[in-house]
């Protein structure tokens, strides 16, 4: 019962969803009117799991006054502030003033925090290029040379140095890169197909806890 019911649910739902995209008849409507909106609702509930986990982990930290509990307090405070504010707007979409204020809090706090951490990547790219990209072997050399050519071809300055750089960059992108990507895409799709098949038939039960 504990394993069979979920396996059955997965199997039936997966078959309906799969067939609904390639057959005529009643299944496309079953997908459109039931399964898909259900999925929207269930996955919305799943989002809440994250916050329950966060509340548990950080709530404990605060109540036991463990190291750095103040930060946990900040985290939960921020979560409740944005959570409640956003929920209010979602339920009252016609309150334009609230939406405007939320957008301000979002675009000038969360958004710069988020892009701020991403911008750190630019610095890391620079330092790791210097530190780690060495022409140690034939393979590493191929990687390096194509990377440098692409960088020169992708910036306007490249064409000023040698007029053919953009063309070489386009060739690398369109021919060898495309070929390699295509191989990886096909291979990975076959790999996930076989895994999906195992899930469908209940051979893979990783998602049900315990592997076998």
């Amino acid at each position: 019962m504990r394993k069979e019911v979920p396996m059955l649910i997965t199997f039936v739902v997966a078959i309906i969803v799969m067939l609904s995209s390639i057959t005529t008849g009643p299944l496309p409507d079953v997908f459109k009117n039931h399964i898909s909106p259900w999925m929207t609702i269930v996955s919305a509930f799943a989002v809440g799991l994250a916050s329950v986990n966060l509340t548990r982990v950080h709530g404990q930290k605060i109540s036991r006054k463990r190291d750095g509990w103040v930060y946990s307090l900040i985290l939960l405070g921020s979560m409740f502030f944005y959570g409640i504010f956003r929920s209010y707007i979602e339920i009252n979409p016609s309150n334009m003033a609230a939406a405007e204020n939320y957008a301000l809090c979002y675009n000038h706090i969360l958004s710069p925090l988020s892009s701020g951490i991403w911008a750190c990547l630019a610095f890391y790219v620079a330092s790791s290029s210097y530190r780690a990209f060495r022409a140690r072997s034939m393979e590493a050399t191929i990687l390096l040379v194509s990377a440098v050519v692409v960088m020169l071809g992708a910036a306007p300055i490249g064409a000023q140095i040698w007029s053919k750089f953009p063309a070489v960059q386009r060739w690398l992108m369109n021919v060898p890169n495309m070929t390699g990507q295509r191989g990886i895409i096909i291979g990975a799709a076959i790999g996930s197909f076989v895994t999906a098949l195992r899930v469908l038939l209940g051979i893979e039960r990783g998602h049900l806890g315990g592997t076998q």
């Binding site: 969803v17 995209s21 496309p28 997908f31 459109k32 399964i35 898909s36 909106p37 999925m39 929207t40 996955s43 919305a44 989002v47 009252n92 979409p93 016609s94 334009m96 939406a99 957008a103 979002y106 675009n107 958004s111 710069p112 988020s114 892009s115 951490i117 991403w118 911008a119 630019a122 610095f123 790219v125 620079a126 330092s127 290029s129 210097y130 530190r131 990209f133 060495r134 022409a135 140690r136 390096l144 440098v148 960088m151 020169l152 992708a154 910036a155 306007p156 300055i157 490249g158 064409a159 000023q160 953009p166 386009r170 992108m173 369109n174 890169n177 495309m178 990507q181 295509r182 895409i185």
Partner: protein, 271 residues
């Protein structure tokens, strides 16, 4: 020799500061290096040039979060500018919870220039469920019953005559992820005319889909936006930034060169 060691061990903080300086100077004082327009960019431009104002409606799917930064956001800004110039209506939808706010940033700007929400464009907001949601929306756009401002979708003038994704003249997605989800769920099964604006990082992995014709046009990040601005004849923010981009590339190549120089000299010495 000591200096070889030094070449190998420049402090990372020095690299950070140099990068910051090299990027900042051309931003303040652009150099004006000329730009070439690539086919992938021209494809999108030509598609939009071929649309009929007043009649055609375009679907824009905003699937990126602010974290993706300017590299993601500058592309839709350029494309929407083109749509606005030509008077073509558009509707936006998102399969990323942060997407609707990104669309709103563009909408706010258009409204301040006198364009009308609901008539010229509308924002249908976020639909949860990723791939499932994409397919659901493609099959039945009215599944979203209200837009982000609480209007009934069926009441929006711009949505008149739209039932499925097929009813849009053209679908353009903007994403920081890969375009495979849209292609799998809507483009291949429904035969949509589809182009994508992606972050520079994702361009190589999208190439096979462009090559096979599943993607009709491909705009990759800042560079493509700069090319698009050039095509529009309105060089703006993106074009100005390309100079900084050039300088930063040169700096990084310089560092790779220094690192390798130190490495080879060190190896020689070791022998």
């Amino acid at each position: 020799m000591n200096w070889i060691n030094k070449l190998q061990t420049i402090d990372r903080r020095i690299i950070y500061i140099l990068l910051l300086v090299v990027c900042a100077i051309p931003l303040v004082k652009p150099l004006g290096v000329p730009l070439q327009v690539t086919d992938m960019t021209r494809d999108v431009y030509d598609i939009i040039e071929g649309l009929e104002p007043e009649k055609d409606v375009v679907l824009l799917s905003f699937d990126y979060a602010p974290g993706a930064g300017l590299d993601a956001h500058i592309v839709p800004v350029a494309v929407v500018e083109h749509l606005a110039q030509r008077g073509i209506k558009w509707v936006s939808v998102s399969f990323n919870p942060e997407g609707p706010m990104m669309a709103d940033l563009i909408i706010k700007d258009l409204e301040s220039r006198g364009f009308k929400y609901g008539i010229d464009f509308a924002n249908l907001g976020y639909l949860a469920g990723q791939e499932t949601a994409i397919r659901l929306f493609a099959l039945d756009c009215l599944t979203i019953t209200t837009d982000t401002r609480g209007n009934k979708t069926t009441d929006l003038p711009v949505m008149q005559g739209i039932k499925t994704a097929k009813d849009f003249a053209f679908v353009h997605q903007f994403t920081s992820d890969d375009p495979a989800m849209w292609i799998r769920q809507a483009v291949d099964p429904m035969g949509l005319r589809y182009a994508v604006g992606i972050v520079t990082v994702s361009v190589p992995s999208a190439m096979p889909y462009y090559n096979s014709g599943q993607i009709k046009g491909l705009l990759g990040g800042l560079k493509a936006a700069a090319e698009y601005e050039t095509l529009l004849g309105k060089p703006g923010r993106a074009v100005a930034m390309m100079d900084a981009q050039s300088m930063a590339h040169l700096l990084i190549i310089g560092f790779i060169f220094l690192g390798n120089l130190g490495y080879f000299l060190g190896k020689k010495q070791g022998k």
